[in-house]
């Protein structure tokens, strides 16, 4: 049911003015009134979602984006705002998938926000990787502590089983059971355990050192225009690949190949699927590369 579109339009314009002046509460309430007047206009929902993002109302911003997507599944803004809200809520998989969807829509509609949305895709992937990495490191530390504790127990049990030099019930020690040989054996067993534990700590330590070491971004994954990690590389006639957003930005200004200066049109660009796959795989394993 289309509602009062005229009234909704006026409310929306007023809301936009409030938004531009930084009055996000006022904007949000005007967009709400606009939606009451006409609940079939997808743009009203994304406008309100944008105001709600500014107000850190993540859940209700998500509700607006989902309402918009029901009316228009191809709304770039709805996916873009959803990604931002999910990122704040640390729902990283959802954030990545909506940011990627928004980016694809930008690429097909030649939207000027392509660069900005591409940056968000990278940010989402980086944050997702950071989070997984934090959890992995914590699990690693816990594993180390557990194994060391188990080894300590094992060491004490072994020593306890070796006829310890305890005093008998009467308080008289029995010198016959504590020979020099026993003392030597005990020391040897204790030393063996200590050496094993030290070795284990070293193994964990060197694994940690390795984490911080692998910090080389391969040249092939870097866009020659922005020097950023590539998400959607496209290849030119001369065979060089660039991030779609940056070569499009360049072609808007000057329709030439950056390397050869030969004429180059957006329709000459082709997606470089193999490179794109390689970039994706590298980034999944090396999220730090986003901030290289």
């Amino acid at each position: 049911m289309a509602g009062d579109t005229v009234k909704a339009g006026i409310l929306k314009t007023d809301g936009n003015k409030r938004f531009q002046n930084g009055d996000f509460v006022g904007a949000e309430s005007l967009y709400s009134k606009a939606i009451i007047a006409d609940d079939t206009n997808p743009a009203l929902y994304t406008n309100r979602a944008m105001a709600r993002l500014k107000l850190s109302l993540w859940d209700s911003a998500i509700a607006d984006c989902l309402a918009c997507l029901k009316l228009n599944g191809e709304s770039m803004k709805a996916h873009y705002y959803l990604a931002q809200a999910y990122l704040e809520l640390r729902a990283f998989d959802d954030a990545v998938s909506h940011a990627s969807r928004a980016r694809e829509i930008c690429a097909t509609t030649n939207d000027k926000s392509l660069a900005q949305v591409t940056t968000l895709v990278l940010r989402c992937k980086k944050d997702r990787w950071d989070d997984a990495e934090k959890r992995r490191k914590r699990a690693h530390r816990e594993l180390e502590e557990d194994v060391l504790a188990a080894m300590r127990r094992e060491k004490e049990d072994s020593l306890a089983a070796m006829t310890p030099p305890t005093a008998d019930a009467g308080g008289n020690s029995s010198p016959a059971t504590t020979t020099m040989e026993d003392v030597g054996d005990r020391r040897q067993v204790a030393e063996e355990w200590d050496a094993k534990m030290e070795q284990l700590s070293r193994v964990f330590e060197s694994a940690r050192a390795n984490d911080d070491k692998r910090r080389e971004v391969p040249e092939w994954a870097i866009d020659d225009i922005t020097f950023a990690f590539m998400v959607d590389p496209v290849i030119t006639v001369s065979g060089q690949s660039y991030e779609r957003a940056s070569i499009m930005e360049h072609l808007r200004r000057q329709p030439t190949d950056p390397l050869t200066r030969e004429p180059l049109r957006p329709s000459d660009l082709r997606p470089n699927l193999a490179l794109r796959k390689a970039c994706e795989e590298f980034l999944d394993e090396n999220g730090w590369a986003v901030d290289w």
Binding site: I225, F227, E249, R253, T256, L259
Partner: protein, 153 residues
């Protein structure tokens, strides 16, 4: 964050570590203006023993738009004599103009181009009409429509 912020940060990291011979980074406190010194390394008598200072200014659209690059004069940093370099430091080089620029160029490659422009030069004079140009020009260097009358240089 503008397009160039990340890129300039990375360029700075790289050139802080190493630059080709004869090019040194003097100052890069922010991502708007950098100073670099260049020397001509072969025995070209016009430039022997001298050091020249280049000033780079980056707009928000760098590297889609070219940086503004001029020589700046100060004590022991003269403006090099060249038929494409005006005495106020403005350089007439197609690479730095809006149509000759390419976003795959960078600070290092621009310095090298200017260095080699000096290395290959044998004419110890200013561009034609230097005095007039210097006293009347008000335009930003990249907006000047240079007339490349002397293409064999």
């Amino acid at each position: 964050m503008s397009l160039g912020t990340k890129r300039l940060g990375k360029e700075l990291t790289k050139i802080s570590k190493s630059l080709p011979p004869g090019i040194t980074l003097v100052k890069a406190d922010d991502l708007q203006e950098w100073l670099l010194d260049i020397q001509v390394l072969d025995q070209n008598p016009i430039y022997a023993g001298e050091t020249y200072r280049l000033k780079f200014r980056f707009g928000k659209q760098y590297p889609i738009e070219p940086p503004e690059v001029v020589f700046t004069k100060q004590e022991s940093r003269p403006i090099p004599m060249h038929p494409h370099i005006y005495s106020n430091g403005i350089i007439c080089l197609d690479l730095l103009g809006s149509s000759g620029w390419s976003p795959v160029q960078n600070v290092e490659s621009v310095c090298m181009s200017i260095q080699s422009m000096l290395t290959g030069n044998t004419k110890n004079h200013r561009p034609e009409g230097d005095a007039d140009f210097v006293s009347t020009n008000k335009a930003r260097p990249k907006d000047i429509e240079f007339y490349y009358h002397d293409n064999e240089v």
